[in-house]
Symmetry: C2
Subunit: 759 residues, 2 copies
């Protein structure tokens, strides 16, 4: 854990420059706009430790799988989000001395991420080896108003000298992925051009043949007047720049405006992409930094109006939740059905930037409550479109008859991941698709989704479970062997309670869906039956048999569900008894030691209870929480939010607050010592849930909203806003009372603290 | 399974050339002499599918580990046996056409491995594109009399033409390992020289800095007279050759004698290695092919006298056992304490050519019974020398206080393997060292071994087990969680019966060893106590507690030991019900499917029963055999031999015979579809055991030999020879009677078919 950032309600603030923290800050201060983004790398040269990263949504590369020991069934490739051409570079050279914060003395360094307006602002004074002092002030944003445009205002002010400065402004596509398996570069050149004032670089990915065309145009101003220095234009493979020489006068600020345009062949014809890029650069330059910024800030203002959460009386908590919302909004806007929510967004490369079950299990509720229902629907349709690949994936592993096994990691529906204990065994994810559907339908009331898309997916998934269970003569029950639950600190276990429960629920839900579609739209139903060879009687019969005879591990004496068979053979100790030097255990302990310990990455019994809360009594929930919580080390970013929600329900105020800080400040405070790889984007939706479903006690039951709020002692009040079936609700919780206001839409009956209330 | 080789008592015979089988034949027809060896690659150019492989004992390279997802505790490198400089190349070019069996028409192809004399003999007639027919006859051996020398007699006979032939004779060190993780070459050049008539190439491995100096000298003869053609000498990095032009006359045989010398810096000073190589080449050439061969064949004659097994009436069975003995003898001679028995010997690269538990569990009994006791003792001392590394290895995984965890794969004592389920969890191997010690002491009576070496190792291993078990409150027993047993088709299981049994036995055996050493040599004992901080009372007390309260999974109703907790949850079906297209399952099924199936790679409950046979009643053995055998797919080469031994004991004649063929002809008939990677050398010792302990019913109990032979219906008689405490016994089993003859040594009392007999 590191706590070097200043607390502020709307800003993330780093004061003073510590090179050891640079990679962490590069992640945290990242910018994005749903279509592109980049880490908070410096514009000028930096020869210290850095991870340079620029990313473009939907552009990926199928990197050849690397394994030590190949297992049958492994995928051939791992799809990677691509480190893309960088348009931010502005090198500053004065009398052959190149500005470089890794070497020069740095004073008054400040890096601020203004979340309200989506602006990265950095300033410092550097002393050159010969004593020259230069003040630098750099502002950057990726436009939320036009996802293909970014802009920089970079000013230099000579404090104690006048001299010629050489400024190199580049687009550099000669980049590598840090995680390239075989040190390959993934881009091929297509076209480069450099003219005085602007450059363009067009490149294409190997294998997948995506093109990205990146251009930049600039303006130099002193005292508000454009100036033109001596300019050299340079081009080499996958790189173009302008080198401009300008006279700097002591105490006169030179302002560089740099406009970047990033186009992808996903949105532009390849043969027009360069021309379009030129035109967009011209337009952006004409519009100018200030106006572009105003348009951008206006979108942010609107976004914040829609989904801000306020917390009064606790700046760290307020900053935390806003950071989470800010990053989510930067990452995914929900208007492109081809996209999904990468686990690191535009903040890093780890985990391949592909789609995980995080989307369905964690992100969907956030978008459901804060956005137009089309966003959530798009996320579901994304998986519907992958159904044929999920069926193919199942087939590869020996399943038959249209069983659908959704991949653990994917870009286009194909499985990319290759750890057998996860790829083949973390099978609960395939039911996350089913649960998300229920979530969506319950929240929106859009049952018709089942007819057009839903049922077909559900039947595929249920066919998978039907083949994946087996009958245990010994137990006289159906069992599920050899799985990894959401708690990845157990592998290849038998009868993971969460998995068995979810599988069984899926089979029941699919039965209901079959009945619904059959009744509501028999034509579509019959078409589907025909198309996917659905043998209703036989298949539904089998599902009913499995659900009625499923085995669930539990210990009656302790009154708890057992994470898996044999869990009680472990030495049961508490995470709080671990030495600090042993944590995080996934960085300190060898794999086997973690596996045989009782420590839990993310408590999947509690996850199951969270998903199916109404199936259990409060007493049951309490016993399981009390049993599992102390063993949970929360080394999954997805873990603490669930604990906030359950602790809130159980009235464990301190635990809820502790877990809230952990989830909301996970990256800001680098809890798991891994923020340098990028931020944990998908779990940020969990943070949102921890406020709304946790402290706010929001639940949906049979189409009706329930609120059962509580407020941590540390807070004066908090508020959140929700969209629900055409209404907008604003919930404000203070110590003394809770206000729920219907901001727009038809009247609505809700249940507040157990009482029916009409809004 | 492939059955293309002719059956013969002393020879392996391939008739006709099938390129699809070439890699398999290259493995099977491999040659070696304990110091060097090579696959049965052709001398002349072959552009078809081939795995060119030459190997030198003890020379390895620590190739940087390749993994998909790094797990804490993984080793940095995987030690690889090195594909070494090749000295066999003889290229034949006639009028610009290069002899190449991948392209030219081949007739009368025959490849014969004469196991009696250790000779590879190949002959064929090739038709060149222009119609020229050339008869080739090639003989090759690696001298068992001088492990640094090999020789080739390669003759060409023009059948229907006279022409100039260009012969290229090379030493080529520009070789790669097929399994190089990052396509690196592992050799650096040191020196090359080419003179008319001979060349030498000296290279050095990267990182490990082993040097190998390989030279070749040749003689060309027609009608027994040396001839000298026009010679060009060529040198390039890591390569030297002579290109000689000679006139071929129709129907006149040209004989090329090529002498290879291979020196390693393990045995020669680097600064003298080139000169020594030159001198040895000269000597070998002077001695000449025929005499070198006679010396070599004489060693083989002696070897066969020592350890041949004869089987009368069943050529396939006879060929099988001799092939196994032949390969074992080629691989390891037991005279160099630095060497061990690589799983592929000199026949391939797979598995890194390092040391596995195979040595202790399978090979040791073979060498004990067929060789001077020093050979077995050297194998034990090899592990004694690795004890500090085993302690270091345990430390890396979180164990303390001198616990010793022997690596799964090693060259120098450091762990090389990186699959977490094996590296960290296949922990039974560390006790294989303890069991081997018992085996050695029981067989040789050399209890003093415990004083000098044994006890220290045993205490280290016992300390490992003490920390690796944990107390299960639930079971009120000690348990061992998260392991992989010898049956690698189950991973990360709890309470693998074999592991628990072996661990407990080790703790008991160590207690006895402590008592013995303390009593016999209190000085040495006290020194040891001091040196390794042995707290006798406390540690022995803990061991006694564990052994008395160890949990063993079993099912009382079925009367069987359970491979692991939860085994009975599986669907229990028979391997014989699998479709042929599903086998071998490790090549046809995805990993998860194998893991949750009941199918067993190698039955570890039966392995345990085999090791501790006297602890169980015949009824118990029968029930377990009947339960596990039908589920065993024998996809470990180590599996069938144990089944021969138990089936023999139980009187299951057909099963014993079936399993015998499987183990003895595993490579010859390519049962597991993997012989192309090399032969399964270590399991060959198991084949030997399957005859002696299986059919021969040989057991050792309290220093006394027992024989309880039976003879398969298919055989007329069989015989084997054993060394035992200074005696040599010859056992001949025929249908009607068994003869045990004391060939040399003091009189001996044995038990034959239950009756005490004095020899």
């Amino acid at each position: 854990m590191k706590q070097y950032l200043k607390h502020h309600e709307w800003q993330i603030i780093e004061e003073g420059f510590d090179p050891h923290l640079n990679r962490i800050s590069e992640s945290i201060f990242s910018l994005g706009n749903g279509m592109m983004g980049q880490r908070a790398n410096f514009e000028e040269t930096y020869t210290g430790d850095t991870h340079q990263g620029t990313y473009v949504a939907g552009v990926y590369y199928p990197d050849k799988t690397r394994v030590g020991w190949w297992k049958n069934g492994y995928p051939e490739y791992f799809a990677k989000v691509l480190n893309a051409p960088s348009w931010i570079g502005i090198k500053i050279k004065i009398e052959n001395q190149e500005l470089d914060l890794a070497i020069y003395k740095v004073e008054n360094f400040q890096r601020v991420l203004d979340m309200k307006q989506g602006l990265l602002h950095r300033s410092f004074v550097a002393t050159f080896p010969d004593g020259k002092k230069l003040k630098v002030d750099a502002k950057r944003f990726c436009s939320m108003a036009d996802g293909e445009v970014g802009a920089i205002r970079y000013s230099v002010l000579p404090i104690n000298f006048s001299a010629k400065v050489q400024i190199t402004m580049a687009v550099d596509a000669d980049v590598v992925n840090k995680d390239s398996n075989y040190d390959e570069k993934f881009w091929d050149r297509v076209y480069e051009e450099s003219q005085a004032g602007w450059v363009v670089v067009n490149v294409q990915t190997k294998k997948t043949l995506f093109q990205v065309c990146t251009g930049m145009k600039f303006d130099l101003k002193i005292d508000g007047n454009s100036i033109h220095g001596k300019t050299n234009t340079n081009v080499r493979e996958k790189y173009s720049d302008n080198v401009v020489e300008v006279e700097l006068e002591q105490n006169k600020e030179l302002v560089i405006y740099k406009y970047g345009v990033v186009l992808s062949s996903e949105n532009h014809a390849k043969d027009k992409i360069v021309n379009t890029c030129r035109a967009k650069m011209d337009a952006a330059t004409k519009t100018g930094f200030d106006k572009l910024f105003d348009e951008h800030a206006a979108v942010w203002a609107h976004k914040w109006e829609e989904c801000d959460i306020t917390i009064d009386g606790d700046v760290a908590a307020q900053q935390g939740i806003r950071f989470n919302i800010f990053q989510l909004m930067q990452t995914y806007k929900g208007d492109d059905v081809r996209l999904n929510i990468g686990p690191k967004g535009f903040t890093g490369e780890k985990y391949g930037g592909s789609t995980y079950w995080d989307t369905e299990a964690y992100c969907l509720p956030f978008y459901l409550c804060t956005s137009n229902p089309k966003v959530a629907r798009n996320l579901l349709i994304y998986r519907y479109k992958h159904l044929p690949k999920a069926i193919e994936n199942a087939k590869k592993l020996g399943f038959t008859d249209g069983a659908a096994f959704y991949p653990f990691v994917t870009m286009n529906g194909e499985e990319c991941h290759n750890e057998w204990e996860i790829t083949f065994e973390e099978i609960h994810r395939t039911s996350a698709m089913a649960y998300a559907m229920r979530d969506y339908i319950e929240y929106t009331g859009d049952e018709a989704y089942l007819i057009e898309y839903g049922l077909e997916v559900l039947i595929g998934i249920s066919r998978f479970w039907t083949q994946r269970v087996n009958w245990s003569k010994d137990k006289n029950k159906y069992v599920i062997l050899g799985v990894t639950g959401p708690n990845e600190y157990e592998n290849n276990v038998n009868n993971n309670w969460y998995t068995n429960y979810l599988a069984s629920w899926t089979l029941r839900f699919t039965q209901q869906a079959v009945a619904y579609v059959k009744k509501t739209n028999s034509k579509k139903y019959n078409e589907l039956v025909e198309r996917i060879h659905f043998k209703e009687k036989e298949e539904v019969g089998k599902w009913a048999d499995i659900t009625s005879k499923m085995y669930y591990a539990e210990d009656k004496a302790l009154g708890v569900f057992l994470q898996q068979d044999g869990f009680l053979d472990k030495e049961l100790t508490k995470a709080s008894d671990l030495r600090a030097s042993d944590r995080p255990i996934n960085q300190k302990w060898s794999r086997d030691r973690i596996l045989r310990s009782c420590f839990i990455k993310q408590a999947d019994v509690l996850q199951g209870i969270y998903l199916f809360e109404d199936d259990f009594t409060t007493e049951q929930i309490k016993r399981n929480f009390d049993f599992y919580e102390p063993m949970t080390v929360h080394e999954s970013s997805l873990s603490p939010c669930v604990h906030v929600i359950l602790a809130s329900k159980l009235g464990y105020k301190d635990k809820a607050y502790e877990m809230y800080l952990r989830t909301s400040r996970l990256d800001l405070d680098d809890y798991n010592n891994d923020t340098e790889d990028g931020c944990h984007i998908t779990s940020m939706a969990g943070t949102w849930m921890s406020v709304v479903k946790g402290f706010g006690g929001m639940r949906l039951r049979e189409g009706k909203l329930f609120f059962n709020p509580f407020i941590p002692d540390q807070w004066k009040s908090y508020s959140f806003r929700m969209e629900f079936r055409g209404r907008v609700l604003k919930v404000k919780v203070a110590k003394e009372k809770t206000e729920v206001v219907l901001e727009s839409g038809e009247p609505l009956e809700i249940v507040l603290n157990g009482k029916n209330t009409r809004l």
